[in-house]
């Protein structure tokens, strides 16, 4: 068989549909719980409604919070995740979920987390997968269910999960992480309040190194351990252990549980059929009332618009594979200037803390004054702004516009910025001679960032 026919036969090969059905249910429930938790903690207000000013992703200035109506977007998220769980109008629900969730994320980049980016990418991918083929309300409505789905539709999710793990492992191959155990050397001792291990293990230097190296090997190898049948159980035990452990150590919310549930997709369909049987038992009283489900015919699935879907998914993965390497196009030190840092599965790599104040000059004379950041930013926004160049620039422009609108003439904005990275003493971060109000945001290298004067080797 030549390459082409191999690909064609792969595309046409089918597999049992239950793993994707279980994944859909797990995803829906996890999202539902995550959003309710987010709401319950009051974060919709504190993160999206309360701030007077939002930090925008480049090119997404037009995304605004809706004031008190912002809750509506979350309601859409909640309803669509319920529909995804039960598999009702699946594709529409998935589109709505992707749009509403991504909209929320785009309101303010202060809240950027790799976890949220993961949810956005995964939900985009899931729009194109037949996750309602089996064990869904859509089956009842259409009186059709599909025992088999294309193999690629499940492999897509496995591939995305593998990319997340593998790339975050690659990112850990750097001199700070492996040879200085940074930032774990700073973080772990501060976990002295965890019972039993806090004051013992977490204080030992060898533990910091062990966890740095262990974390790197874990991330890199976990996709392979999960892919091969012989090592799958070991891999899954590691997944549970690792995520629960980091969940205890760090304030990472729902992410550990999402990854544990997500990793179930690697198991054979027999496991998933058992899970479905178990769910059926739980919902038996409801099922008995729905008489029509007996009339569902099992059919052979036909993916409509297969060519379009396949090409969208291909482009999606090409982007996923190359986007994390875009930092190579910048001459600056990645961890310091963060040019090309986001959307690359760089998780937990830096301990960065900054202190940035802004000097406003006007009328081309020598007099100036400093801005009180508290007047415009929440403490969370100020914290994030203080060490990320694109935030600093955007805020400088906001201040420039603000004071211009207040009647100041020829406003100039200068930043007095100091950042400490991975246990290094603070250094001046931004050239204080550069009028940031005249600098434009772009994907080009920001020349006004003062280089760190140190090299962090590695990916």
């Amino acid at each position: 068989m030549n390459m082409n026919s191999k690909i064609i036969s792969y595309i046409n090969s089918n597999t049992n549909s239950s793993p994707l059905a279980v994944f859909r249910i797990g995803f829906g429930l996890m999202m539902l719980y995550s959003i309710l938790r987010f709401w319950n903690k009051g974060w919709i207000y504190t993160l999206y409604i309360e701030p007077k000013f939002h930090f925008k992703y480049y090119g997404f200035n037009w995304i605004k919070d809706l004031g008190d109506y912002t809750y509506i977007i979350f309601v859409i998220c909640i309803i669509s995740s319920i529909f995804i769980t039960i598999g009702y109008k699946y594709r529409l629900s998935m589109v709505l979920f992707f749009l509403s969730f991504t909209y929320i994320e785009l309101i303010d980049k202060t809240t950027y987390l790799n976890h949220y980016y993961f949810i956005s990418t995964l939900s985009f991918l899931m729009i194109f997968l037949p996750a309602n083929a089996y064990f869904s309300i859509d089956n009842i409505l259409r009186k059709k269910s599909y025992k088999e789905i294309p193999k690629w539709s499940i492999d897509c999710i496995k591939l995305l999960l593998s990319i997340v793990y593998f790339y975050s492992g690659l990112a850990k191959i750097n001199s700070d992480w492996l040879f200085n155990a940074m930032p774990l050397k700073l973080w772990l001792p501060s976990k002295y309040d965890i019972p039993l291990i806090g004051e013992t293990f977490m204080q030992q230097e060898w533990v910091h190194y062990f966890m740095s190296w262990g974390g790197m090997f874990y991330d890199i190898s976990i996709p392979f351990l999960l892919l091969y049948k012989k090592t799958r159980i070991i891999g899954f035990i590691l997944v549970i252990f690792f995520h629960l452990f980091t969940g205890v150590l760090f304030p990472i919310g729902m992410f550990p549980y999402i990854m544990i549930v997500g990793s179930l997709i690697f198991f054979d369909y027999s496991v998933h059929e058992k899970i479905i049987k178990w769910i059926k038992k739980i919902i038996e009283p409801i099922r008995r009332r729905i008489i029509i489900y007996n009339n569902i015919k099992e059919e052979k699935i036909i993916i409509k618009k297969k060519k379009i879907i396949m090409s969208i998914i291909s482009v999606f993965f090409v982007i996923q594979l190359f986007l994390p390497f875009r930092y190579l196009l910048y001459p600056s030190e990645l961890f310091w200037s963060e040019e090309g840092y986001r959307f690359s599965w760089r998780v937990m790599l830096v301990e960065k803390i900054g202190y940035t104040t802004f000097k406003i000059k006007s009328n081309k004379n020598e007099s100036y004054f400093y801005v009180n950041n508290e007047e415009f930013l929440t403490s969370f926004q100020e914290k994030q702004m203080s060490f990320q160049p694109d935030f600093i620039l955007e805020y400088a422009h906001f201040l420039g516009d603000y004071y211009t609108s207040k009647g100041y003439l020829d406003v100039e904005v200068y930043a007095d910025s100091y950042v400490s990275l991975n246990g290094r003493s603070n250094k001046r971060f931004v050239n204080s001679e550069v009028d940031l109000y005249k600098e434009k945001e772009s994907f080009k290298n920001k020349k006004w960032i003062i280089p760190i004067d140190d090299e962090i080797k590695g990916f």
Partner: protein, 360 residues
């Protein structure tokens, strides 16, 4: 099978957690050091500073009563003396905006300056004594007393005659002194019971005593000390100098003394005065890169203090005659802020105030 996997994992986790407990004898050092630090803060800083202030306020009340009974020069002089003493001792209290003080907006009721004269005058005319109204925070406490003792008229004679002719002024004066006592009593009292919960809150969370107090300390250094006493009057935040915003503006001669007293309080707190405090704690946990940090901070404090010493006793005059010198002192203080807010927070791994959101 899933069940087996889960139970196996939990056994594994349990084994690791339980092994670690009898593995090592260096245990509980961090915990003990932190609780030693909190005990030191409570017993040698917070509680004694509050009682000193309370004593001075009691003297203030006595002198206030004498003056109310007989408003003459001699009684005014002695009232002013105890006022200055009390204001000095306040400098050791303001940074402890925690627990009962935080709940009752104590800091705001005691020392918001510049005081709002128009508000004071309206209150006097209307005999309004609603001091819990937040609009009246800047019409009470030390800054209001400063105005009432030095600023209501242009000379001592006129001040005394004003009190003699208008009894409303006298009653507002004693009402304010009384209010300062009423605000302070419950805090001194509540600390007796609050102390235990304060020193036992050792864990590393946003609301634990270690984290809140450290944040309060930095906040006081940055706002209460750096901005209020220097930056704002020197015009750092406004473009032009605002000398009338100095502390004790109407007295005029004690702004430097108050600032130095406040700096002393900051240094004492940082150093621990023989007990464990931030300085010891930093050198304990610091990594190679930060080995000098605990002394670097102290060095910066000393540089700044020297520059403050070179200023005029009267900051108002100093700002009018040579503001550059004040700005230089401000810059030196600012160097300390940078170190506290970057390197120190990084070493201590104490998250800044009230940031509540998930991390990566």
């Amino acid at each position: 099978m899933i069940k087996k996997i889960f139970s196996f994992t939990f056994i594994l986790i349990f084994l690791i957690f339980s092994c670690s407990s009898d593995n090592d004898d260096s245990s509980s050092e961090v915990w003990e050091q932190k609780s030693e630090m909190l005990t030191n803060w409570a017993d040698n800083f917070i509680i004694p500073s509050h009682s000193t202030l309370l004593n001075n306020l009691v003297y203030l009340e006595g002198a206030g009563n004498s003056f109310t009974n007989l408003p003459n020069q001699q009684n005014l002089d002695s009232l002013r003396t105890v006022f200055i003493n009390a204001y000095m001792s306040w400098q050791y209290v303001e940074m402890f905006d925690i627990g009962p003080a935080e709940e009752s907006y104590y800091k705001s009721k005691m020392n918001i300056y510049p005081t709002t004269i128009s508000r004071i005058e309206i209150n006097i005319q209307n005999e309004n004594t609603d001091f819990n109204n937040s609009n009246n925070y800047s019409a009470q406490g030390f800054p209001a007393l400063d105005y009432l003792l030095y600023g209501i008229e242009t000379s001592d004679e006129l001040i005394i005659s004003k009190y003699n002719t208008d009894s409303k002024y006298l009653s507002y004066l004693s009402e304010i002194i009384n209010q300062m006592l009423q605000n302070t009593y419950p805090i001194v009292e509540e600390w007796e019971s609050y102390r235990n919960s304060f020193i036992s809150s050792v864990e590393n969370t946003a609301t634990s005593s270690v984290n809140k107090m450290t944040n309060d300390f930095i906040y006081y250094y940055e706002k209460g000390f750096r901005a209020n006493k220097f930056g704002i009057p020197a015009g750092v935040f406004s473009g032009g100098a605002l000398p009338e915003k100095v502390e004790a503006y109407y007295n005029k001669n004690i702004s430097k003394a108050l600032a130095l007293e406040s700096f002393q309080a900051i240094k004492n707190f940082y150093n621990g005065n023989g007990g464990v405090s931030l300085r010891q704690y930093i050198s304990e946990v610091s990594t190679a890169e930060y080995s000098e940090l605990s002394t670097d901070i102290l060095d910066l404090f000393n540089i700044a203090e020297n520059l403050i010493n070179g200023l005029d006793d009267n900051f108002y005059n100093q700002i009018l005659t040579n503001n550059v010198q004040v700005l230089e002192a401000y810059d030196a203080i600012q160097q300390g802020t940078i170190l506290l807010k970057t390197d120190m927070l990084s070493v201590l791994q104490i998250p800044t105030d009230y940031v509540d959101a998930d991390g990566d």
